[in-house]
Symmetry: C2
Subunit: 246 residues, 2 copies
DNA sequence: CGACTCGTTGATGTTTATCAATGATTGTGG
DNA sequence: CCACAATCATTGATAAACATCAACGAGTCG
């Protein structure tokens, strides 16, 4: 049921070919990557690695969503990364995972054995260059997230999360309808709480409040409609104008 | 009084030579960097760039401390980076600053004009490799910080900050005395508040509480003594054992 | 059907923010 | 040199935001 091993697939038809760590690779480089890659799938909710585990691979997310999180001894948990398709998992040169990694939705990874990948990175600047670019983007995202965690109200936090998810959907060319934007929430209330540094009750209450105020509409518990994105943007507390909407 | 332009200095005698973005460069590469570098100094409190400003240079912090922070329209501010000696400022390929950068203490930067630096990065893999390593370290630090912001109590936040600063001092081989560890606080109460997502009053109260409970001792307002680091570590709420004390 | 997960909502409690006063220190101009 | 302003820090009183504890509804799986 779990850990289905996918068949080999061609890089040429890969949905993340042009955004993942291999984005800049030439044909010959792709062939080399091809030789050390293998696919691996997980069902929603399954753990991928635990903090402290040895990790012998790095990977790209092909489909689905994974979370990185840190847990304190008493159970308090903070999500510190949300990996979407094309995002990279693992750190070359490090063999022990510093975070818990969990499949939030059904997930497929394109894995590379770590040692060969590291050796290839030395020979292939395109990989390191792309990884640097992706890591800098992640750092920017982490810093935006720090503002959310440190300074925003519960309502602003929820609005910010909705805006981030809506923008992502839009950047993939999806979700726009005649009545505004829409997307599927990939996270449970508890996962949203761990993302935002709130309790799940507060998440639930604030979602209800935004719904009551007409900022969002729910279809079922997971499908979100944004009738007016500018209105949502105002609720996030962020600059509406000038700022670099990262 | 401000913006003193330092004289040219030799890379060979540079205090951050082996930790900064140039750490892996060979002699000839250093000479090339030398040709595009210039020093620049700022006094404590001075702005270096504002969010939205054009930024035509990247730089290494040589001495002193700088902060990156994000401000909301109503004045709420979150620090999102603290740059210490050897840390890198700026992003190759980006010409507009996304954060306010402020000199927290007196500060000297080793600046490189951005365009020549970017061209050199293409020719010189050592620079990109080192920058990737440093960026990954910063991302780890940002994620530890996210746990602090999202899930720790005010007391744990203060204890965590003290522990981070004490560890840094120790990693430079400084601060250890017969009565434990000591260091100078580089931040005002307000800057600590912006770092930790608190108000300055709460920072002040929690410092007083830790002092009252004997976890720390103050000499003046800025010099901190840690009589028992393990005790402080417990106050941070982090794993005392196992965890990778990053 | 009963157990389980996920989500919602209410009542209450705790933590931290806000507002306000004051002390200590430093720099400035008369 | 002193009076004054300005900055940084501390502490108290009160208010607001969010967490905690608790009950319950809806959907799903065995």
């Amino acid at each position: 049921m779990s850990d289905v091993i996918f068949d080999h697939k061609e890089c040429g038809s890969c949905p993340i070919r042009h955004r993942a760590v291999c984005a800049r690779c030439e044909t010959d480089e792709l062939e080399e990557l091809d030789a050390i890659k293998y696919y691996r799938s997980y069902e929603a909710g399954q753990p991928i690695v635990w903090s402290g585990d040895r990790m012998d691979f790095v990977a790209s997310v092909v489909t689905g969503v994974a979370s990185l999180s840190q847990a304190m001894e008493d159970g308090r948990t903070q999500m510190v990364g949300l990996l979407l398709p094309s995002d990279f998992l693992g750190r070359p040169g490090r063999d022990v995972a510093p975070y818990d990694v969990i499949a939030v939705s059904n997930l497929t990874l394109c894995c590379f054995r770590r040692k060969p990948f590291e050796q290839m990175m030395i020979r292939t600047p395109h990989i390191g260059q792309r990884l640097l670019e992706m890591t800098l983007d992640e750092l920017d995202a982490a810093r935006e997230w720090m503002l959310i965690l440190g300074r925003k109200t519960a309502r602003e936090k929820i609005a910010s999360l909705m805006a981030i998810l809506a923008r992502r959907e839009a950047s993939l060319g999806l979700g726009s309808t005649e009545n505004g934007m829409s997307f599927e929430l990939p996270l449970t209330r508890e996962a949203m709480a761990d993302y935002l540094g709130l309790t799940l009750e507060t998440v639930s209450r604030q979602i209800s409040a935004l719904k009551r105020d007409g900022v969002i509409t729910l279809e079922g518990k997971r499908k979100v409609l944004i009738p007016d994105f500018d209105r949502l943007q105002i609720e996030t507390g962020d600059d509406t104008d000038g700022g670099l909407m990262v």
